[in-house]
Amino acid sequence: MTRSLSGLAAIALIAVLLALAIGSVTIPPLELWQVIQGEGSALNRTLIVDLRLPRTLAAFATGGLLAVAGALMQVLLRNPLADPYILGLSGGAAVGALLAMLAGLGTLLISGSAFAGAMLATFLVFGLAHGTGSWTPTRLLLTGVVVAAGWGAVITLMLAVSPADQLPGMLYWLMGDVSYARTPWPALVVLAVSIVLIMPLARNLNVLARGPMQAAALGVSVRPLEWAVYLLASLLTATAVTTAGSVGFVGLIVPHMLRLVLGNDQRIILPASALAGGTLLVLADTLARTVIAPEQLPVGVITALLGVPMFLYLLHRSR
């Protein structure tokens, strides 16, 4: 277990260094080393420390958050198609963010609105699914999918009536864009704290994945565990969407890719998802900001284009 995790950690570190070294302005490795040591020209220092480092760390944190949230959702709902957005979280966050943009608020308030929207969506789905007392994954899933469709309708309405000059900004937010992230620290802290919180529960999650009856019979307190996982996954997703908009694909595919290679032990999958999700998003963001520079692509485009062939290859190899 430690071998695969340390391997992933090494790959993550290499990806972060690559992201710091590559950009639309070429910085030779020697000068990069100088900046890391604290010297180097003012321009290089600004480029690396003020632009690339926060953006790379934010991309890593967002990718890690989404991948862990996806893994948790897949365990919670016992459904391989579950992703972090399936219960309407990104929809609620999007409505919050778009409303703030329409009102002309600053970026800090837009992020705050997105977070508030995501948490509102969480409690809305939770309350609706909990309704008559019987709370099954199927009921939660159906409620979530329907509420997500509702949010989608509200988003479409807002896009239809918003002034033409605000549309590009709104669309970029919906596509997911790491350049929105001004500071990576909230996301990194949330990721680190939640990994620490979830690791003790990982063994119980393994048991829960076999079914609630089996889990209860084996001594797992199912309801409290499911609520805790649901709230934690929602918090992770809300933080990720607040940081970089709704980046798609990472939460769904990264846990599956890791399961094909590492098996289905949550004690490995959860931390591995954090590392692999972060790595994938860092690499995707590096490509997104350089491949047709000075044009900037939204990172969600690249995650899908990179991830689909990778996943198909792994699926093919695992036959």
Binding site: G23, S24, V25, L43, T46, L47, D50, L51, R52, G106, T107, P163, A164, D165, Q166, P168, G169, Y172, S179, Y180, R182, R289, A293, P294, E295, Q296
Partner: protein
């Protein structure tokens, strides 16, 4: 005599040591320690305005679609006005960045502010605004002679047109910005002001939004005498063909589906004077039909 020499000396000295200051269209005052030498324009309109202010040789980068004047095509681009490549921008070490109040992404403009890059936000909304922005940009770039002259030329041209068409017969106009969805402009928009200058009455001028999205029914109900739109080079293209289905429309019956060069009328620059002359000529043709 001594007094005059002293005053002249004082003026020269203070102009060497004073900051170069101007107020932008967002209300912020920008003071540079010296005139700007490396300017980045973050919208095609800003590019045109910088060249018109006489500071074209100080512009080091533009954004996509900065196609006027032709010299701007040789300048490097730092992305689209909706999404800027910050690294490329910073690598050029600009000492002044001209931003667009509503067009540039707020998150990236805030990042520029956090990195202490001097920025000047523009968004002219009236003809006086265009003259004023030319003067202010030329002050910041140290090219007051050309900038103020161009502002005066523009102002005089607009005033002359305004006088010429003051008593012109009003003509109801629908200006089609986009065909699908159907969009127009109200009288707060510069295009609306061009129409008013030429004696046109914008049938959607009183709508609350700057760029309203309307239905074809609203146009049929308003029944304008002229339907106008922008096209490449002012050439007739297919954008207004849909209205030919409604033969009862006054504009169709009298053959008043008219075109103006889009690039002249769409940007808040001195070329609006040429655009206004063009529109006024077209409305005169419509009056005769």
């Amino acid at each position: 005599m001594i007094y005059r020499v002293f005053l002249l000396f004082f003026a020269l000295v203070s102009s060497v040591f004073a900051d170069v200051c101007a107020t932008d269209d967002a209300g912020h005052v920008l003071c540079l320690p010296t005139v700007a030498q490396r300017i980045v324009a973050l919208s095609p309109g800003a590019t045109e305005l910088m060249f018109a202010a006489g500071a074209g040789n100080k512009v080091v980068a533009v954004v996509d679609y900065s196609d006027y004047p032709p010299a701007a095509l040789n300048l490097p681009s730092v992305g689209n006005y909706t999404r800027i490549d910050m690294e490329a921008l910073l690598a050029l070490r600009p000492d002044l960045v001209i931003t667009w109040v509503t067009g540039n992404p707020p998150a990236q403009v805030e990042l520029l502010k956090a990195l202490d890059v001097p920025q000047f936000a523009i968004e002219p909304r009236t003809f006086e605004g265009v003259s004023s922005v030319l003067e202010r940009l030329s002050t910041l770039a140290g090219t007051e002679q050309q900038g103020f002259a161009e502002a005066e030329r523009f102002h005089a041209g607009i005033a002359a047109l305004s006088e010429q068409y003051r008593n012109a017969e009003p003509v109801s106009v629908f200006y089609q910005v986009w065909a699908q969805p159907l969009m127009t402009i109200n009288n707060d928009h510069l295009i609306g002001k061009v129409l008013q200058l030429c004696g046109g009455v914008n049938v959607f001028g009183d709508m609350p939004r700057l760029v309203p999205r309307i239905s074809a029914e609203a146009v049929l109900e308003a029944d304008p005498l002229v339907i106008l739109t922008g096209s490449v080079g002012g050439v007739s293209d297919g954008q207004l063909d849909r209205w030919k289905n409604y033969s009862r429309l006054k504009a169709v019956a009298r053959n008043n589906l008219l075109f103006v060069p889009a690039s002249l009328i769409s940007r808040p620059t001195p070329r609006l004077l040429e655009a206004s002359k063009y529109v006024c000529q077209k409305l005169d043709i419509a009056r005769e039909h």
